[in-house]
């Protein structure tokens, strides 16, 4: 293994390590269940599909987050973008539910992108502010309670139904993934994202419209968050306060575990998919092991830090 490592591209190495770790998690979990229950539920296709179904919400959020992180920025407005899109979609209801949710995403993305690209406010601060504003708007809109509106049938179909025994949510995640891969690999915009993330000044002086690249990435991030919100509302049949809170940090963790440089400019989408899988499986194995919440958090944190340490070793500064 070690001999071939040297010839790998730096961005491929984390993908392989994370994939290996996914297998380790499955192995450890299976050994545990075999020892205690004499069965291997982790390896059953149904169980895995169910995990990926819940994982697909995180996967869609992480796909959008990756675009922003590739630019060296971050989008902290994810939690209430998820909630706002879900709430507005269920409020409007009917055929307009999906377009409304997506429109919320586009609007939030434009605000984020214009603030970061034109007002030059650091994204960490600006998106945090936008998150807070959205939260206020939603509390105002709902009166602070969970809205009574139900998710529309199409939302429920997308989030909770199955086609050929495979949850539809996984198809949505696959579709989003294909679009992101196509954007990153085969469009001028995607190449410009990498160039801008590496060195904005050099990209600008190459005639790349770096501001529009930033706006575009934030719009993609918010639209992905909005889609996740719509699916999540469909999955639990309604929208509720704080429904997006559990997605922000795992999404960032998944992107970074997948090998995307937190400072931008480097990363592969395959890594983000592996990162999402890793986080989802780690969570489910820990819950199968009936690990108490406190222990789970400790292990979860240690895994993230540990993986980054493993990646960081190779990248010594070469003068």
């Amino acid at each position: 293994m070690s001999f071939s490592f040297a010839s790998l591209k730096p961005e491929d190495k984390p993908v392989l390590i994370a994939s290996g770790f996914v297998l380790v998690i499955l192995l450890v979990g299976t050994v545990y269940t075999m020892a205690t229950q004499g069965s291997a539920p982790l390896l059953s296709p149904n169980y895995l599909l169910q995990q990926l179904q819940t994982g697909s919400f995180l996967g869609i959020v992480a796909a959008g987050m990756m675009m922003v992180i590739l630019l060296g920025h971050i989008d902290l407005s994810i939690p209430w973008t998820v909630a706002a899109a879900a709430m507005m979609a269920t409020t409007v209801g009917g055929d307009m539910a999906l377009p409304t949710g997506i429109a919320v995403g586009i609007t939030v993305g434009l605000v984020n992108g214009l603030g970061v690209a034109y007002l030059r406010i650091p994204s960490m601060i600006f998106t945090l502010g936008v998150d807070s504003v959205l939260r206020g708007l939603m509390v105002w809109h709902t009166g602070g309670f969970a809205p009574q509106d139900q998710a529309t049938p199409i939302m429920r179909f997308l989030a909770a139904d199955k086609i050929l025994g495979i949850p539809v949510a996984i198809f949505v995640w696959v579709a989003v993934s294909l679009v992101i891969v196509l954007i990153l690999g085969r469009t001028a915009f995607g190449r410009a994202v990498y160039a801008t993330g590496n060195r904005e000044g050099a990209a600008y002086l190459s005639g790349i419209r770096t501001r529009w690249v930033i706006v575009g990435a934030f719009v993609i991030s918010s639209v992905c968050a909005a889609m996740a919100g719509i699916l999540l509302a469909g999955y639990s049949t309604k929208a509720y306060q704080g429904m997006g809170n559990a997605y922000l940090l795992p999404a960032i963790a998944a992107v970074v575990i997948g090998g995307t440089r937190i400072l931008g400019g480097q990363g592969r989408y395959a890594g983000t998919v592996v990162g999402v899988t890793l986080i989802v499986l780690l969570n489910s194995v820990l819950s199968i092991m009936q690990m108490p919440e406190a222990g789970r958090q400790v292990i979860y944190g240690c895994v993230i830090v540990g993986m980054l340490l493993v990646y960081g070793r190779g990248n010594k500064v070469v003068s």
Binding site: A202, L205, S206
Partner: protein, 510 residues
């Protein structure tokens, strides 16, 4: 000059992941000598000085200091032993003041805390020694121009009381006045029995300053000789290992050219004060003058980077200052800019050679909304072939290339856009002789194809050798235009100092 060398290397080799950087090098330098190290980029000069100054450790061989073997674990140990290096890449912290930077490693302390007053005083003394009284010790380094930063770097090195001072391209960013100061300083140090190792690509500097020359090629020490033993031609031959016929390509003799770029009364903040200039199709116009007289701003203004530019600009059939580089490179104006600093402005260093080459011309390799991999490969291969860039694979990071090849990538990137006006901001700074000559030839070829070229250089020899006309800038405006036989060193220097604005200086242009 003492008999025993101050620093002596014997049998030093250094390999980077299998590639040879230095092989079996014997080298020595003596106190009270100014010793030039010459060689193309990639010849091993940088590795040599990194080994001497403790940044790198040799794989094999011995380093003797005062005749006793030494091993430096880090630059701090070398610096304590009196070996101080001024690196090509500036090593100042932009957000600290000049005084803090000068005393960064060993600040003067009182009761364990940094003594700010002593620190400032120390900075003032050191800056006065290199005649930089105009630099405020309390100024932030980020607010200084590149040439001032370089002088602060020199002051910082002096503050370490060197016994061996290594200057790696330390004069490449300096104004001519500062260069004179540094020459004086090196002469003083020589009289104080300090050894200097001087690395420069400028032959005339080496000739003026140094008493001993060593030539490196391909990681090997070719020859060391006293100044004057070999002719320039011989030295260049030793460096590149082949004969060089003409330094600059011949200039064509032509009459009047239709102007392609016309600039009238260009103003921007207090840096451009009514600059007027024109460049014809097929013409190379040099931009001269001291550092920081508005040359960089003029180029950035023409390329659409600066906001609030006033004045009239016409490029071909378009008029007006472009709003952004994206506008400047496209449409009918088709402008290209090779920026001043290739590492931060010209390239995305960690990205692949292919990605860097394509960064300005995604639309050229796209079909509809998508990039066509076949067109992409073809465009990259064409760019590499046209400039004869020496690379491993196009997927390798551009950071793995030598300086000269990196600059070729920047130029190839812009040639892919088929520009009609090419702005070159000091494109040959810090690159080797062989590549420089290729760039001179390329510039002339591009001009002969009918493109207009505006070429800023800090090296007078380049302006004299390459340009059809030279416009000299002083304080944000163009004070003199020279053409034909008027282009000579005396005339350029006189114009740079703005001393013949009213009439020719007696004897200067003779």
């Amino acid at each position: 000059m003492s008999d025993r060398p101050l620093v002596q290397l014997s049998g030093i080799s250094k390999f980077f992941s299998g590639a040879r950087a230095l092989e079996n090098v014997d080298f020595s330098c003596h106190s009270g000598s100014i010793h030039a190290v010459l060689g193309e980029n990639g010849a091993g000069k940088s590795t040599l000085i990194k080994i001497i100054s403790g940044v790198l450790r040799p794989d094999t061989g011995i380093l003797n200091l005062d005749g006793a073997p030494m091993e430096f674990a880090n630059p701090a140990e070398a610096s304590a032993a009196g070996i101080v290096c001024i690196f090509q890449e500036l090593s100042l912290v932009p957000d600290l003041t000049v005084a803090e930077n000068i005393s960064l490693a060993t600040p003067p302390r009182r009761f364990g805390l940094i003594d700010a007053r002593a620190q400032r005083q120390r900075a003032e003394e050191l800056l006065a020694r290199i005649k930089c009284e105009d630099v405020d010790p309390n100024a932030m380094v980020r607010d200084l121009s590149l040439s001032r930063r370089q002088m602060v770097e020199i002051a910082k090195a002096l503050g370490k009381n060197p016994r061996l001072l290594i200057l790696d391209e330390a004069t490449s960013a300096l104004t001519s006045r500062d260069v004179e100061t540094v020459y004086g300083l090196l002469a003083d140090l020589k009289a104080d029995n300090v050894a200097s190792l001087f690395i420069s690509h400028r032959m005339h500097e080496v000739e003026r300053l140094c008493d001993t020359l060593s030539v490196f090629r391909n990681g090997q020490h070719v020859e060391t000789f006293a100044k004057g033993v070999r002719s320039d031609r011989d030295i260049v031959r030793l460096m590149i290992g082949r004969e060089v016929d003409a330094h600059f390509p011949p200039k064509p003799v032509t009459g009047k050219r239709a102007p392609h770029l016309v600039v009238e009364q260009l103003r921007w903040e207090n840096r451009l004060k009514g600059a007027s200039l024109n460049v014809g199709k097929g013409e190379i116009v040099g931009l001269g003058g001291l550092d920081g007289q508005g040359q960089k701003e003029l180029m950035l203004a023409l390329f659409g980077v600066l906001k609030g530019v006033e004045g009239r600009v016409a490029v071909g059939s378009t008029s007006g200052v472009p709003g952004s580089p994206a506008v400047a490179k496209s449409g009918r104006s088709r402008i290209a800019l090779v920026p001043e600093d290739r590492k931060t402005e010209g390239l995305m260093l960690p990205m692949s050679i292919a990605d860097n080459l394509l960064a300005a011309s995604y639309s050229k390799v796209s079909r509809g909304p998508f990039i066509d991999p076949a067109l992409e490969r073809q465009a990259v291969a064409d760019g590499i072939a046209k400039l004869q860039i020496k690379i491993g694979r196009p997927e390798d990071a551009v950071a793995t290339l030598s300086g000269g090849n990196q600059q070729k990538v920047v130029i190839a990137k812009w040639l892919m856009t088929d520009p009609e006006l090419i702005l070159l901001n000091d494109p040959t700074r810090g690159i080797d002789v062989g590549t420089k000559q290729e760039i001179y030839r390329l510039m002339r070829e591009l001009a002969d194809e009918g493109r207009a070229i505006l070429f800023y250089s800090t090296d007078y020899a380049e302006l004299i050798g390459c340009c059809d006309r030279v416009a000299v800038m002083y304080d944000g405006a163009i004070v003199t235009e020279l053409s034909g036989t008027e282009i000579n060193e005396e005339a350029i220097i006189a114009a740079s100092l703005n001393i013949d604005a009213t009439g020719p200086l007696a004897g200067a242009s003779a």
